[in-house]
Amino acid sequence: MLINHLLPCGALTNTGSAFWQMISQQEKIKLLHFMRFVRLFDRRMVLWQRQGKIGTYAPVEGQEASQIGSALALNKLDWIFPSYREQGVAFTLGIPTTSIIQYWSGHIEGCKPPIGYRYVPPTVPIATQLPHAVGAAWSIKKRKEDAIAIAYFGDGATSEGDFHEALNFAGVFHLPVLFFCQNNGYAISVPFEKQSATKSVVDRAKAYEIDEYQVDGNDILAVYDVIKNARKKKRPALIEAMTYRTGAHTTADDASRYRCEEEVRVWLNRDPLYRYEQLCIKEGLLDEEQLTKEDEKMAIHLDQSMKEVEQKTPNLPSGLFNHVYYQLPNWLEKQQEEASEDVNNGSVHC
């Protein structure tokens, strides 16, 4: 059964009203602010890509409720294994904006998590991060930590072998790991009905004896509630958030080749930010003046972050060699000297 707290028009369902009573004012405002920030940030990233300031980019727009709702339900010790479209998760968890920009500008330094964070660099191949999350959950269980591991992935990932191997391990060893699928309907151009004979992703949970939740992924309250609830249980679970990327797969993709306008329009009417804003207006939580100020602050923050990345990111050949091994071995030291020599003799411009 699809868990739904907030309807596209912004009205609460019965379960939604109950959940709304349970959460604090502060939480409600946080959800709103992060949704607005992430949308602004994401649109700015697309713009920067068009201006040639960053590389190919995978936009989040449309999936903010899934990403922010889940991220805000996590705790500091939780291990997070994102795929490449989780800028909303990263931003919400406090990964510096500069790191996210660095990564999409082609700098490996952007992958480095801040001290004390268990936020793993985004995984680019499909579904391969799921077994890693299983291992991290295993380590949590062995050390008896109050934490879980969560892996983010899309509907396409559910066709990969690693998805099934990971869910099987999680079921066999009873590990505290959440498999969070944002089913946005498409794996680049291939629609879910061509990806899977089962009607939904959660159908697969039964095969591995793990918990299952199917949630309206454009409903931030429902996602927040489901993840809070699932993480408390410390049991393996498959969560399917039904959502839609309103943009293209990446800035190199043209979604109009495989999706009709009418379908996109239907989903724009289910926009996650719009519906939560409608609720906040009704509940008197939306302070226009305050929000405008916040938006302006965010715009300044984004510009400053970009400037910082442009000015401060190192771009030396040593970046090729650092951390390939625990210590730079002597045979790579020689190759590093070669690379530096190429810079010195003008063969390579840095």
Partner: protein, 324 residues
Amino acid sequence: MLTMVQSIADAQRVALELDENVLLLGEDIGKNGGVFRATEGLWEQFGSDRVIDTPLSEAGIVGSSLGLAMGGFKPIVEIQFLSFITPAFEQIVSHVARMRLRSQGVFSNSMVIRAPYGGGIGAPELHSDSTEAYFVHTPGLRVVVPSSPYTAKGLLLGAIECPDPVLFLEPLRLYRSRKEEVPSSYFTCPIDKAKRWREGEDVTLIGWGAMIPILIDASQMLIEQDISAEVIDLQSLSPIDEDTIFDSARKTGRVVIVHEAPRTCGVGAEIAARLSEEVIDSLEAPIKRVAGYDVPYPLFALEHAYLPNVNKVVRAVMELVYFQ
């Protein structure tokens, strides 16, 4: 006196005793003690929380081991045969080898992946491949191959001590071929150094793993022809110990490289390339490879025709000695 497979079990026992973060994962490694008994007795001694029988799922084993390594554990993974490592190939080359780099030093990728490998024992189809070159071609990994019971224990403990991920390839043919004295205590052999088994003046024979007894036998036969051969056991395929092979090649002026893997783009090709870049002035003859043919490893009825042997090595040496 221990066989190689016993010394490998012993190394893992010592590692499990020494460090509570060491975990063993693999198929049939628990109650069964491994299909080759390389984990014999460890499940009984350390229990199923540390000697873990996993589902039959190579990508799952290696992928979850990476997660465990990130959480501070030290997994030692057994892949039942190197031929069966391919489902985990993506995990190894795309993730295990890169996690330290991608996290810029924050997350550990320290683990040992053990795999029995190589031919010559009449094993079923797809149980005998030597695919070491795939992994030598992958930056971030180390690849180590022992050739005796003593060095197997020392190198395996050295690999376990190493903070980098190590693929530890165990030559099937040597598992029980001979016994020798192996200390029961903790000791390591350096995992980035080649070993000189025999000193010689006229030709350098380079090999690793199951080729070493063949090279030693060949050097014995060559003595009868008055040819003195130096036998070098690479031990570490990644990195390659250049100093040892360059010194030897400069001394003898002739090099034969011997491996079971197909010739094209085998590790022998890399060694030959490095020799030609660095010591070509000292060479008196072309560098010669004796290797598997560029065909899939045959079913066992024909493996004797595929594999390098003493005669093939001796013939190759003769070609070099009489090279004009």
